[in-house]
Subunit: 437 residues, 4 copies
């Protein structure tokens, strides 16, 4: 995990302190359930909560014990006994370490997903605001990096809004997938722990019951979760790359906000670089890199092997913390994005109306030109424009074939951006719902 | 795509013939909608259907035309005109190639997902059947590859059943994500095509409407689809690896069916190898390899670039065709798996009851031994068994500490597999529902 | 493998016919060596060559036999006996299938690497030619997509030339890694085949001896080979992305050649898209996707499992065939690239000399301005240019702080592209050697 | 980076303190070179070294400054001026931040590669020692997880030794690739810095000169480096998986050393798990996960974009630190591996000599049986053994077809492990050289 790309809220979820707190809660809730079932004394369960509820578990002490036991949960339980006293011996009855570890991981992954969903909400709000601001700001639509036809900047943002709506749904589904609880003992048979303990703890920890576990919660759930994060990261990359393109010197239709005091380059004082979105492009790669190891973690041997553990120690905090940071950063970039409608217009007109070539062609076909003839005529004139020989409208008016079908006035009428915006309302309604009307 | 790992049903979905058939249907449905809107003559739309409905589009001819136009959809439309006649000029009005290409890809991906769901159903049926057959067949549960505690073979299979239930849900969700239709023109503004055309074609082709497209359907949808396939592939790998482990010479608890006439090795006539599940392990790697390029495809430039196209020509058929094959193969392996309950029992007893160590420890703690003392006593005796010095039960009975707490009869009673199976019914109900009772 | 991105020369290396021809050669060379060692009759070895040297092995027939034996090498040997006669029984003595399969794969991988190296040579030639043509063609250097300082187009190409020189070395190293021969029997002990057979076959097939094999050639070699291909693919992507950027409508400093008759878009007749380099970007993703499964193939179980086999059936031909195609396509793109020096100059001047900001700052520091003051002064004037308020040189001349340090004439002298090109010769000598002087 | 899988030696290379020390050295060496060239005063260069040579650069102070400048190198230079005094203004003349950052990264990557090579040497030493110890320890060779033929445990280890020899060569090559120095200014033209400065600094820092850079050192070098690390990680995984297999309860031919006081499971006192090699399997996945983002980093835009930076902040320390840890851990595991020759022998004999099936078949063919007949006869008897019906040798002796060709004594002579070990010396010489004779 790279500290400079981490927010404290996300880091806290993965801290040792949080982890041990969740461990205690799982163990103590399980003790309550066992006490209800008569497996351990009720007063012991109570004493455990009394002694441990407000305790701060000491990671250094636990590490110290682990250096002897070489087993983390045993080390923790030993430390709990130091704090809570002898009643702690009733903890963990018939449970296995993974019952605690895996359920804890589920809690952490679920909580951090909640954070990610909040982040997406912020981003969605920023996108929506800017989309409505620029609902009818004309700009050129580009395919292959080449001017295609007019669109609006609001429409561009609406597309990203819709994509992050899907991101939100994917995260919600990912949370649903991962938020399960397993307290089923050494190989998942509940041999020494009643299934009702699992049900009780699940409910208390805000999880569902894992229908069948081995020693662990099956890792297809985790792989699905990391995959969801990776797709969200790729959506971030798409918007980041868009902004980087828009800020290119030759394009300059939008720009990341540049703070007073900021220096773009130690060597070149004139520089204003899209460093935030470049950074987001890199963070997307980092978040995505968790997918392959997560997929490789699925095929554990038999009732479990522990190869997934070191992997998850890395990728679970890293991917989620960096994605949280990236979503917030992107929300800020969108919120503060400096947009240049006049440059958009200048770029749109750069090729003397070439972006209207389709309309001219369609107009010709409606005047009984064949599609092939119309295409050839329009293309021929367009190529002259690419060669820098003059303006598109002038060539068309001078073209004998074109002018037999279309008058100058008809041609002029075709060179009209608004023609392209007549369905913007429809699309906004589809994306943002009726309130956008 | 590797022919030997491909079923004709899946291959057919990705054939040029199928592709061109879908292209025609989309264009022709769009023509119907345009005719309804008065954009093109109704009789032209009819003539198009009449001439093209039963046509077989000729891939070679289309390739030939494309060598001139260097554009596939234009080549196709030219060929349609050859077959259908001049009314074909009304096709594709105001549409752009991607309207056809992307919607076709959605149709193909949706259809092949239906196939994958069927495959999973077959696999689920096989798993369920074998799980019930062996609901109470005792076998050792292993963690870290080391004997842990008794479980049943049916429980193992129930775990895989639950995982493939999730696989089915993931595929259903992936289909839902991908099954959208975009007919929105060059940059998604519907400048020259009415949104109602898109709605009409979507309905006819069994798709939903893409709320906002650029020139293309956004690639986060495709990335999510490939991710879902990759997770399913990893679940296949988990079951395949399990079977490979069970067939190891030293374990031999189950075996792939071995046909008369089959040869396991050209050199060693005695060999019977788990080649099908080894193959499935490899196919899982292949299917998964589509995820990274699919994620890299998301961040297309502006309203689209075409870098995704060559990638999808490869990974879309390959990943889905091989996954279809793999699921079928796995269903067959499970269906025909030769299971050796007697070897399971032999392995379970191999260490003279060592798998009951937890129960002994818990019994000691219930007799007021501390957890630490109990652990130490049981571990000490267990280590002698690992060293091959004798039987676990004998050591325990001879141990002064143990015997002060537990009588021989009490100890004997702890060495009991059935104790571990008391919740199998509960788990089966969770996994298979009430009919399992 | 996607036929449209495949050259026949590369496809041929991976054809069944080539594979069976290599199989035969390995078996027949081994027979020669065994005959020399007295293991089999010399006349039998001769008869095998006589009967099989010019034979065309029939893949369909072999497939037919394999459907019974479920073993490919046994099926092949059976077919050889059909063609060569009973002497064929002396083939494969003490060998195991993998001896043939793995050595064949080495031969194919080595041969296709030779092809790739030829491709890189073509690309290098094209890059060198264009680099010298444009050795002193001024163009703007960009960092972060933002104008930085002047460079030359030849320098840009020299950078890519140097990168593909490294690509060539990587491919040579990758070939060296993979070109080994293993004929060591069932588990690599040479129990039934003399090590001298391996040595003989290795020499005849142009390979080195694998010092120690299990049943197979270790897969770290293959993983290293696929990794090398992936790095080369990424270098292709870098150059492809550069060209795509240069062809952007707003930049238009270079363009892929556009053929007469070519259509850029079915809908927009004006389009000229960088489709070849976009395609190369996609192909790079495809080639790279082989790396992860190749790495996953390394950890085979014990003396081998066969999970790698299905993976390699896909990725070995696919990655190499597509990379061969991509390198050739890129060589053609570079060879025919249309370059617009006048547009480069126009872009370079677009910001009124802003690209000279560093020189102004350094000149100020040489006149005893502190670096901080100089930076602030230059940045302040540069920001006005970004805001479109006027020309950089005018602002500087009007700035009281600047003008106390630098006269107008001194300032004018700083706005000079040639200043930046004084070391181009040095760099060219480093990259292309002395002949560039 | 996960602290528990990190050694201080590796962590130190990536610490802020080390980074700033290298930054200073690069800047100060450059100042020396500039002083020699008369660009800056000689006494200033001296003063810089005098003031900075033994300085401890304060990361917190630099961070503090960066919060204002939003630029790390400017922040550093400001801090150097605070420590060294006004002569610091002569630093960084005509250089750009990347000159410092990228050259520093090269130094760090080169240094950590040296560490990795040391680690591999330790591992090689352990492997060699254990290989010679068990040069003739018989064990079963397995393909597909199924018993194949006898081999020796030393041969197994020799194979891994050879693989790590290749690992060492790959690391040496990777270091060679990455150890370059670029001090070429804003876009690589040396506009404001003489190429001789680069040459001087390169030599002082133990690097070669980058022949042509843009603003940065090209990222194909870094991608090749990460790829090399990934292949090494996969070789670790292969050996780790081998040991995990050998420790399986049913196999138990080798075992990780188990310390007194160690607890294998909190629930099951009898457990001894191969946790170190399982952990290594996971670490291999982590190290490998750096490859894809490293490949994605290659195609930077134009003369550079900064998307690679955040990626490398993560993967460069993480991959190298974890690989260093993993290699050391593996060396320790091999060094202390508990090997059970008697269990190897027991497993080898488990199937009553089935592992000799090939020899019997070959002996039959040498007695004029056809290969097909011999195969069928041997396979038929072998299948009875798999079914648990008796011993292989007994079935063969009782088989009418076999016994007409081979006497009981001849058969008995074929059931001989030593036959398989006659070339072990040859292989050891190939792998370890002549000293092994």
């Amino acid at each position: 995990m790279i500290p400079r790309y981490a927010r404290p809220e996300a880091v806290a979820i993965w801290s040792p302190e949080t982890k041990y707190k969740i461990w205690f809660e799982i163990e103590a809730h399980a003790a309550d359930a066992m006490a209800d079932l008569g497996v351990i004394p009720k007063e012991s369960a109570k004493a455990i909560w009394a002694g441990g509820k407000d305790a701060i578990w000491n990671p250094d002490r636990i590490d110290e014990i682990e250096r002897v036991t070489k087993h983390d949960v045993i080390a923790f339980l030993t430390h709990v006994a130091e704090v809570v006293g002898p009643e702690a011996r009733f903890l963990h009855q018939g449970m296995t370490s993974s019952d605690v570890l895996d359920t804890t991981l589920s809690v952490q992954m679920a909580r951090v997903t909640d954070l990610l969903i909040e982040d997406v909400d912020l981003l969605l709000a920023a996108l929506k605001k800017r989309a409505f601001e620029h609902k009818f700001t004309p700009t050129v639509g580009r395919s292959h990096g080449i001017h295609a036809e007019p669109t609006t900047f609001g429409l561009k943002l609406a597309g990203h809004y819709a994509e992050f709506q899907r991101a939100k749904e994917r995260l919600a589904m990912a949370k649903f997938e991962i938020a399960t609880c397993a307290i089923s003992g050494a190989v998942g048979t509940f041999a020494n722990v009643d299934p009702r303990v699992e049900e009780y703890v699940a409910e208390k920890m805000g999880l569902t019951v894992e229908p069948v576990s081995t020693q662990v919660i099956p890792r297809d759930r985790h792989a699905a979760w990391f995959s969801a994060l990776a797709v969200v990261a790729s959506s971030i990359e798409r918007l980041a790359v868009e902004i980087r393109h828009l800020q290119r010197t030759e394009v300059l239709e939008a720009e990341e906000a540049f703070d007073p005091g900021q220096k773009g380059s130690s060597a070149m004082p004139h520089k204003r670089n899209p460093i935030l979105t470049e950074n987001l492009t890199g963070l997307a790669r980092l978040v995505r890199s968790a997918v392959v190891p997560a997929l490789e973690n699925v095929a554990l041997w038999h009732e479990r092997d522990i190869s997934h553990s070191s992997v998850e120690r890395g990728i679970a905090p890293d991917a989620s913390i960096h994605l949280d940071f990236a979503l917030r950063r992107l929300a800020g970039v969108v919120e503060r994005l400096v947009i240049y409608p006049e440059n958009m217009l200048k770029n749109l007109d750069r090729l003397g109306g070439l972006v209207h070539s389709q309309r001219v062609m369609l107009a010709l076909t409606q005047k009984d030109s064949s599609r092939e003839e119309a295409y050839a005529a329009v293309q021929g004139n367009a190529m002259k424009v690419w060669r820098g020989e003059g303006k598109f409208i002038d060539f068309l008016k001078a073209d004998p074939f074109v002018s037999t079908h279309l008058t100058d006035a008809e041609l002029d009428a075709l060179f009209n951006n608004d023609y392209h915006f007549k369905h913007v309302d429809t699309i906004f309604r589809r994306v943002f719902g009726e309130q956008s009307a």
